[in-house]
């Protein structure tokens, strides 16, 4: 199934399984079903449990917190992460702190889906991946699955967990396909997944960059460079052990970050792993991230903006000190600002 279908499937499983689950957000019951991820859920589970909302992101986050305290398991969806910036007060001051500030007795099992935009002129206010903000906040969990199976499994873990979870869902992954277990499939929050195994370089990725990295890693493998490719899946908590044990083996670290470079999650990983694996590093750890600039609307300016397989392969080459053939990775069957040829706008 596709990633979007996997998200929908997770929601349907949760709604089916527990009457406490509710799903809401702008357009949740709309005819397009938030890129297909909520299609038909209102018809199936009723308008009491699956519903639209006012354009009131801060309050509707607080409503989710209250609903969770009242025994529900709410899932709130934002069509873009950018809109959720209106709700950082409720997320940071309330959801993240409720357990702590009331003495640790209970948390807020609220799941907030945020869709990450990219390309087709999404531009400065519809394409931000500000995962670093959420990953900095004690009390929040942040997950960013790359595959349909992980999307489903992490969403179910989020919904049925005891903590607030920011669920980052890349718009360009919605059409990606993959095997997805049926039923109540769970992927534990905080555990990374090794997608490829190799002794030369540790590549750490997440979300759409895990797919770009897969291409790059397989490409350089043919040239004799073997990488451990670690798909983080969770950004907070982060699976430090997985990265650390890999780096102790490879001695080389490349971290990919779908957010801005300065102050991003990759920096945190580089910093912590450097300190922890000091004696094992054979080369300075490196990172590839978005530039410290918003995404422009102009297709001319998004061309070099995103990290792609060719950049990753090149960075791997730099780390091992061997120039690798990477240019063949640059060829794409569709324009750089859409996920595929079937995408023709308008958003």
């Amino acid at each position: 199934m596709t990633y979007a279908e996997a998200v929908r499937d997770a929601l349907a499983v949760a709604l089916e399984q527990d009457p406490a689950v509710i799903v809401y957000g702008l357009g949740a019951p709309d005819p397009k079903g938030v890129f297909g991820t909520t299609l038909g859920l209102q018809e199936q589970f009723g308008a009491d449990r699956v519903f639209d909302m006012p354009t009131a992101e801060n309050a509707m986050t607080g409503v989710g917190i209250g609903a969770a305290l009242g025994g529900l398991r709410p899932v709130l969806t934002h069509q873009r992460l950018d809109f959720a910036l209106l709700s950082l007060d409720q997320i940071i001051n309330n959801a993240a702190k409720w357990r702590f500030m009331f003495g640790g007795r209970r948390g807020v099992p609220l799941t907030i889906r945020m869709i990450l935009g990219r390309g087709w002129g999404q531009g400065p206010t519809h394409s931000q991946n500000l995962q670093a903000i959420f990953a900095h906040i004690p009390g929040l969990c942040v997950v960013s699955p790359a595959t349909p199976a992980d999307a489903k499994g992490l969403l179910l873990s989020a919904i049925f967990g005891q903590d607030p979870v920011i669920f980052l869902e890349h718009r360009w992954l919605h059409g990606a396909r993959g095997e997805t277990p049926a039923g109540d499939h769970r992927v534990p929050i905080g555990r990374a997944h090794r997608l490829r195994q190799g002794g030369d370089v540790t590549v750490v990725a997440s979300s759409i960059l895990s797919l770009e990295a897969l291409q790059a890693v397989d490409h350089v493998a043919l040239q004799g460079v073997a990488c451990d490719l670690i798909d983080l899946r969770s950004i907070r908590p982060l699976d430090w052990d997985a990265i650390e044990s890999s780096v102790r083996k490879t001695g080389r670290l490349l971290v990919l970050d779908p957010g801005h470079e300065t102050g991003g999650v990759a920096g945190e990983i580089v910093a912590r792993i450097t300190t922890r694996c000091w004696g094992h590093l054979r080369a300075p750890p490196s990172r590839l991230a978005m530039p410290d600039a918003p995404e422009s609307t102009s297709p001319a300016l998004t061309l070099g903006y995103h990290v792609r397989a060719e950049h990753i392969a090149e960075a791997i080459g730099d780390l091992v000190g061997a120039p690798l053939e990477v240019s063949s990775l640059s060829a794409r069957p569709h324009p750089h600002d859409v996920p595929g040829n079937d995408f023709q706008g308008p958003f």
Binding site: P54, N58, G66, F102
Partner: protein, 332 residues
């Protein structure tokens, strides 16, 4: 002359006001000892609304509040020793010392939490009401707010959603004319009555004198009944006045942001002697009952402070384990 309100309820309100005042004054008296080391907002002078609400709400009803929440917590039945211990930062505090005066909770009695960001619990209260509706449970959610909350966007967003879904919410707005040192006119448009605004955004609204707690009870009771019977969210504005400084134990009229004359007018409208006098005139106040109540309250307060003082501080290890559930913690 018999007041329409049942005299038992009236005495309940009176006792609650006396109790809240006594607790707040005990805090004020001892604050200088520097053992209560956190920002503390007292309700002395404005006990009326809280006590009236306390008489209206039942055990199945829930409540949330803001920074000035001692009175609300107590009126809802919150545990007094746990509150005092919380202000002392002790492990026996209702929030295990993490929250202090501004973050009180007692879920056992439906007091679901008070927090320190103005307006911050408003949507939380609405969400609790949503949970009642979805789970088809009885009861309502009382959301205590101050006049400043009508400046916050989140109030309007929350009220709108509550109205769309006709949720069982009762907003109780204590309009004490000030937000910290700022009078209403530098914050809100002239001539804009809080309850009119509330009505326009979709709440059923009324307003009255918070220092006449029996009148307030009447308004609140009708509103609560409407909320419970599915009429949708309600808003009751109650005029009242804080006697002491915004935060802390002292008086601060000398600062000049409000006049001594204004303070004296409101002090003359003290809800406690007023209700006492009324009940006396109605022959509904037995002096022995009053003396016993006052003695009980005194003893209860003494015991609460003794409990707080004797309680241990929390174990430092908790500060890092209280953040996530056991499945997630400890964050590496």
């Amino acid at each position: 002359m018999v007041h329409p309100l049942d005299s038992g309820v009236s005495r309940h309100i009176l006792r609650d006001m006396i109790r809240i005042r006594a607790v707040e004054e005990a805090i004020a008296d001892r604050y200088g000892e520097q053992k209560m080391r956190c920002p503390t907002h007292l309700s002395i002078g404005q006990e009326g609304p809280a006590a009236a609400v306390g008489a209206v709400l039942g055990p199945e009803d829930l409540a949330v509040s803001g920074h000035r929440a001692h009175a609300h917590y107590l009126a809802k039945g919150g545990d007094l020793p746990a509150m005092i211990a919380e202000i002392y930062g002790k492990a026996t505090g209702c929030s295990r010392g993490n929250g202090g005066s501004m973050h009180l909770v007692d879920e056992a009695v439906g007091f679901m939490g008070s927090t320190a960001i103005v307006g911050g619990t408003v949507p939380v209260g609405v969400g609790l009401a949503l949970s009642l509706a979805v789970r088809r449970k009885p009861g309502l959610v009382c959301i205590f707010i101050g006049d400043a909350v009508l400046e916050t966007g989140v109030f309007y967003e929350s009220a709108g959603f509550a109205a769309v879904r006709k949720l069982p919410v009762l907003f109780v707005c204590e309009n004490n004319l000030y937000s910290v040192y700022s009078p209403l006119e530098v914050r809100q448009p002239a001539g804009r009555a809080l309850s009119d605004v509330a009505a326009a955004v979709g709440l059923q609204a009324s307003s009255g004198d918070g220092n006449d707690p029996r009148a307030a009870y009447g308004l609140l009771k009708s509103a609560a009944d409407r909320a419970r019977s599915g009429d949708g969210p309600q808003f009751v504005e109650l005029a009242t006045y804080r006697w002491r400084e915004h935060c802390g134990p002292l008086f601060d009229n000398d600062l000049g942001y409000r006049s001594e004359a204004e303070y004296l007018v409101w002090k003359a409208r003290d809800p406690i002697p007023r209700l006492m006098q009324e009940l006396r005139e109605e022959g509904a106040l037995d002096p022995a009952w009053l003396a016993a109540a006052e003695a009980e309250i005194r003893a209860e307060i003494e015991a609460a402070f003794a409990f707080a003082e004797a309680s241990p501080f929390p174990d430092p290890v908790l500060a890092s384990t209280d953040i996530y559930s056991r499945e997630i913690a400890p964050f590496p």
